[in-house]
């Protein structure tokens, strides 16, 4: 898959969007807006960056991905299914009685490293894994996905301080900077900005990327770490609900589930997007 073209990955993103909407609709629950804002990041990570697969998932040298913003689990589920960690049909059981497919990641699901979803945990866990890698002279990298609303959790800043103190350049935090949270605009709830200056002050290297531009994401995510001895923060500017026009930048889609008409409209829009991309490729 490492040889995929940008266009192929763009098509894949649209296919993954269709899949996650399908399973959210089926479960009648899910964090739709955040799933759609981070799906391009996950697509590029798993198909172009991470050295992790069902075959090497128990290999101590594998790259690690810790999804700190665990609520966007449907995005992670469809990506893991597409990579063959489990049959996609398992996702029909999301949220059902006794299903392993819970509304936040758990290790009962193949491919998931930690049970996350309580915010402010992933960066500390990732720092621990990165430190173990340094101690053991392993070359793996640790990627974690944070939400911008999540930055209000103080434990992130404990971990940020520790990671630079320990010179964990094998640690990469990606911020899904969609600027919305359940109550409204993150800047109005409790403004975390300027995020870049804060992390730089904590000793991190910070860069920005368009979180929906496959080419940009590939280029940035493949070139970390940028500075030896420093952890990296990639601020991915994203749009909550991206890819379904009526969901984009609308707070209620944080965990909104489309009704039948909305679902059909979303599917139509994404199928059209795939067709356009196909046509361009042809």
């Amino acid at each position: 898959m490492a040889s995929c073209s940008d266009k192929e990955l763009e098509i894949k993103s649209a296919v993954l969007r269709l899949a996650l909407l399908k399973y959210i609709k089926n479960a009648n629950a899910g964090h739709t807006g955040g799933d759609l804002s981070c799906i391009d990041i996950l697509n590029v990570l798993y198909n172009d960056v991470l050295n992790v697969s069902p075959e090497n998932f128990n290999d101590p040298g594998r790259d690690r991905y810790i999804q700190s913003k665990g609520h966007a689990v449907e995005a992670l589920y469809v990506v893991l299914a597409s990579k063959g960690f489990f049959p996609e049909s398992d996702l029909e059981t999301i949220g059902r009685y006794r299903s392993h497919y819970v509304g936040h990641p758990t290790r009962h699901v193949n491919g998931i490293e930690f049970n996350t979803g309580a915010l402010g945990h992933g960066l500390s866990i990732s720092a621990g894994i990165a430190l173990a890698g340094k101690m053991d002279n392993m070359n793996y990298r640790v990627f974690t996905l944070l939400g911008d609303g999540e930055l209000a959790e103080g434990s992130n800043w404990e971990a940020a301080m520790f990671a630079s103190h320990k010179r964990l350049d094998n640690l990469v935090a990606i911020l899904d900077h969609n600027t919305l949270q359940i109550t409204g605009r993150t800047a109005e709830v409790c403004n975390p900005c300027p995020i870049d200056e804060k992390f730089r002050a904590f000793g991190w290297v910070v860069t920005h990327v368009d979180g929906h531009d496959i080419k940009d994401l590939r280029s940035v995510l493949r070139s970390v770490p940028f500075v030896t001895g420093k952890p990296t923060l990639i601020i991915a500017d994203t749009i909550k609900g991206k890819g379904v026009s009526f969901m984009e930048n609308v707070v209620k889609w944080h965990h909104g589930v489309p009704d039948d008409g909305q679902y059909k409209a979303a599917v139509r829009e994404l199928e059209l997007r795939i067709k356009e991309l196909d046509d361009k490729t042809a």
Binding site: P60, T106, R107, E113, F114, N115, T116, G117, A118, G120, H121, L123, S124, I125, S126, A127, G128, I129, A130, L131, A132, G133, M135, D136, G154, S155, E158, A159, M161, F162, H165
Partner: protein, 329 residues
């Protein structure tokens, strides 16, 4: 069931051992010599944890997080997920409740075998006051699934519990006080996680205790023995899983049961034991000795123990009182 020094002369004065924390630190050093994956993680707590000698001997095997207990537990979980044998060591008052969500999710729910070590537990910090007391840790952690909770009473239990935790692939919470503890076991005695130890046998009164509250119960048993009252002293070192059978046998074979704990009487050993007996349908005169629903009086650990009756004399009186009230009935 493992036995303590049941056969020792009950009137013997207990010999004073060392603080359990010193034994903890020494045991870690001994294990670190054979296991380079053994790590101690501290939150500016190596001094209180008696870990300075360990840090000097194995500087590559101690990880300092600074004063950041939530981060300490998350980092420890990350390290454990990579195969490290981790002893996350921090004052019990901060570790068990400030980091409770990390313990619940990153360690217990994610099922990584971090050994969480709560130091200076209970009211060990004495006059530093209630901010520094951990009389809620057992209550908080008993409600978390997938964690083994052990509070050693003496040096022997400490050594055995630390080794058992290191060898286990399950999350542990180990709870230590600060002061030198008397030796309650004969040399070479056994010790099993989850199996209480009967330190003295008797069938008039049973004291069920854990941690630093076991020694006063043992001394109370000596005083009672002189009065012709047989006291069974049970070290319930493992709070979870609780040795239900030891509790039930004590209630069936003794005339009354007193639980003794350096912990709130809410959510601790007393309530746990009472629940076991209720569900088993065993009715016995029963009393909980521990910290009532209040912020503790000011004073040293000994002062606080005396105030709440966690002393040889206090427990002696509690035992006689409960036995007399039973006779009246």
């Amino acid at each position: 069931m493992p036995q303590g020094n049941v056969n020792m002369e009950i009137t013997d004065k207990l010999t004073t051992g060392r603080p359990n924390l010193e034994v903890y630190s020494e045991t870690l050093s001994a294990m670190a010599a054979e296991n380079s994956d053994l790590l101690v993680v501290t939150s500016d707590s190596r001094g209180s944890g008696k870990l300075v000698p360990f840090a000097q001997k194995y500087p590559e095997q101690i990880v300092e997080t600074g004063i950041a207990e939530q981060n300490l537990v998350g980092i420890s979980a990350g390290l454990a997920s990579c195969g490290k044998t981790v002893f996350a060591t921090s004052p019990a008052c901060f570790l068990a409740t400030r980091s409770l969500e990390q313990i619940k999710n990153d360690v217990a729910y994610s099922d990584y075998p971090v050994n969480l070590v709560g130091i200076s537990a209970g009211v060990s910090y004495g006059a530093l006051g209630s901010t520094h007391h951990s009389i809620h840790d057992i209550a908080a952690l008993r409600a978390v699934n997938n964690i083994i909770i052990v509070a050693p009473a003496d040096n022997h239990e400490t050594l055995m519990a630390v080794r058992a935790a290191a060898a286990s692939n399950k999350p542990f919470y180990l709870r230590f006080g600060k002061k030198p503890m008397p030796d309650l076991y004969d040399e070479g005695a056994g010790f099993d996680i989850g199996k209480a130890t009967v330190l003295t046998d008797g069938d008039d009164i049973a004291f069920i205790a854990f941690g630093e509250a076991v020694a006063p119960a043992y001394e109370a048993a000596q005083l009672l023995y002189r009065e012709g009252v047989g006291a069974r002293v049970i070290s319930m070192h493992t709070l979870k899983p609780l040795d239900n059978e030891a509790v039930i046998r004590a209630a069936l074979e003794c005339k009354a049961v007193i639980t003794v704990e350096e912990h709130s009487i809410f959510g601790g050993l007393g309530e746990a034991s009472a629940a076991v007996l209720m569900e088993e349908g065993v009715a016995v005169p029963f009393r909980r000795v521990g910290i009532p629903d209040e912020y503790t009086v000011t004073g040293s650990q000994s002062d606080i123990f005396r105030h709440y009756g966690i002393t040889a004399g206090g427990l002696y009186e509690s035992a006689l009182r409960i036995l007399k009230s039973q006779l009246k009935d």
